[in-house]
Symmetry: C2
Subunit: 444 residues, 2 copies
Amino acid sequence: MAQVDQFVTVADTVRPTIAARGKPHVVIIGGGFAGLNAAKGLAEAPVKVTVIDRRNHHLFAPLLYQVATAQLSPANIAQPIRSILRKQENANVLLGEVAGIDTQARTVELDSGRILAYDYLVVAVGATHSYFGHDEWAPMAPGLKTIDDATEIRKRILLAFEHAENEPDPRKREAMLTFVVIGGGPTGVELAGAIGEIAGHTLVKEFENIDPRDSRILLLEGLPRILPMFPEALSVDAEKDLAKFGVQVRTNSLVTDIDEHGVNIGDERIDANTVIWAAGVQVSRLTQVLRNLAELDRAGRVPVERELHIAGHPEIFVVGDAASVKTRDGKPVPGVAPAAMQEGKWAAANIVRAVNGHSYTPFRYQDKGSLATIGRHQAVASVKGRNFNGFLAWWMWMVVHVFYLNGLRNRTLVISQWAFSYLSFGRNARLITGEQPKTLEKKS
Amino acid sequence: MAQVDQFVTVADTVRPTIAARGKPHVVIIGGGFAGLNAAKGLAEAPVKVTVIDRRNHHLFAPLLYQVATAQLSPANIAQPIRSILRKQENANVLLGEVAGIDTQARTVELDSGRILAYDYLVVAVGATHSYFGHDEWAPMAPGLKTIDDATEIRKRILLAFEHAENEPDPRKREAMLTFVVIGGGPTGVELAGAIGEIAGHTLVKEFENIDPRDSRILLLEGLPRILPMFPEALSVDAEKDLAKFGVQVRTNSLVTDIDEHGVNIGDERIDANTVIWAAGVQVSRLTQVLRNLAELDRAGRVPVERELHIAGHPEIFVVGDAASVKTRDGKPVPGVAPAAMQEGKWAAANIVRAVNGHSYTPFRYQDKGSLATIGRHQAVASVKGRNFNGFLAWWMWMVVHVFYLNGLRNRTLVISQWAFSYLSFGRNARLITGEQPKTLEKKS
């Protein structure tokens, strides 16, 4: 409490400012797709907006796997939230971690002790990966949610080949050239396909003692098919396409253990030095503080009314991956970027309605379809009941992703890097950074 | 020694290969400007080349300060050594750390225990910063030699403004907005100028509680003037130009202590949360293993003959920042990129001569002049006795740096990012990554 007292001056300076302007204060927690779209949706409203995020950048998560696979640089898909909202006069950005929410006093407390009073709260904290109760697997099988995750995975993939090049023992070398991706959703499919391209094209002819094409790339999925959110025919297509890039798909394969040297699927053992986790979704812990207002689902999602606020709390909206939203016919809205954007905008629109004396309207989800890319000329798309695969789907994937990318600068850089890679089969960002084991060859 | 035995098979497979081909083995330690140019210079020679580096990438160090100041992405100035040498059939790249050199047995031992026999050795291990016996200053005042250094400095600069935005105490806030760059050589000048641009242009209007233009940026130099390798008139110009970007230059200012909250210059105290070290050069420790062959200078440099090899050891060349080379008139060759490139090429040419039965020729240094940029439209250049400053020097600086950058891809990306920044006053890579203090505001 001493911390809070210390910054009571700050809280005090915030409150009178709001009171003086007579404008409601909207606090948005999270600068991802949902939070950012909520903020932008309030640009013209007579409110004061504060966006809190523990990172300084908004991340274009659908391209994160390309950072992890050395295709793009981190900055190509990340932009400072401050700079995105620079021209929005009523918006303010705070870098910080939220320590708690007092829904009675209507305040948000930051880790620093600073307290912000809100009139409306938009919780857009997003999700992270879930290890299904096996958090001890995390160091061996990193997931892909942040820039730091991506550079860590990039380092592991690139180091695997370097380790193998230096390894005299053929059995160890084989494990070093075995890559296991766990989870057959879009991220898992995209990662596995990209590793296939690295092994099959990018690195060919660069080593003396190994042939990267000897790599074994496994995509493990617990369900009977990969890309379960797509029509079944596209799952089959995707599996065939992955095979072209040297990826073996194993369905009905539930991982039962992971250690430093590989994974177990029941009794079966797969020796692999590189394991990547692309399964399971769990909402950021922060939603736990809302659990006395609404019963969270297993993944920690907060159920919301059709208007996107918590039942009985019209001043608290939950949007994006943190929310459990149902469509009019009772189906869950999927945890994808377009849904998060739409929910953020809708919450903003409802706040604008309330400020102007109108009542909330129920969210209508527009299903924009599903897209997943596998590699050069190969992708699958399902849009409004129509299925696409191959070259056309691949083009659609690229156009859509460039279109939604924030900022002309990033669009230009991404397009030019894609063009370079396409022409050269190369990768733009084959950087091993951060600490690395001093010794490349295992001494044990 | 057990380690060595374990990999004796590897060493054995290397030796017979060389013997079988009947080709001399040239081992190059370091993939910087000197090492890489030595490798390239041997492309057509009847030798086998092995380049060893502990990082997987060659770094275009002259632009590293632009990564540290959020202008470029790390991958823009770094390229895998493997990919640079991909088409050079006689060259092989090894990621690893050299543990020792046995100049009697003519072998290089890697950290892993692997041993490589050499016929010619090229030591191109480069330099790092020296804290003049105060290594305890390193955590408080990071230097700029690697990509990881650059992203660390970038994080500190960007976080400083975020901290200040959240800080209610005006005295603490002032220290958070004080940036001290120690060392008035080109790197220090370029860093200070770029911080001035960030504070004076990039971040303006993005904060609510602070005005980044209130930042205090100090460039400290122990000698009587900055850029001592330039003609005196240009030092004066540079100082004036830096003032335009809000940088205060303090010459004859020797830092006597650094702690977490600032620096001391004798009795004077400067409170500053961000301190960057751009002074002092020290050669990588590896040259120590050569000290019984030649007396190293204070910075650890290895003195070499005019032909660039160690006296009495015509098979061991030392090039780049690790070497102490004298020109024909006895002046020391400066530790700059063009000199490293020329020396690497020269060592390669001498090896080619030896392999073809000719004798070595003495190195001739071509002084290409000195360039340092300060910021938008401001730079200084001294080329063949002629001095330039302002817009013309700035253009020269850009053209030269793009010209020497490796690879069309990087050139295109760098030019387009410079163009974007120029037009928008923005920065391309304002990313805070890596671990950061959980709490932004200091709780003490």
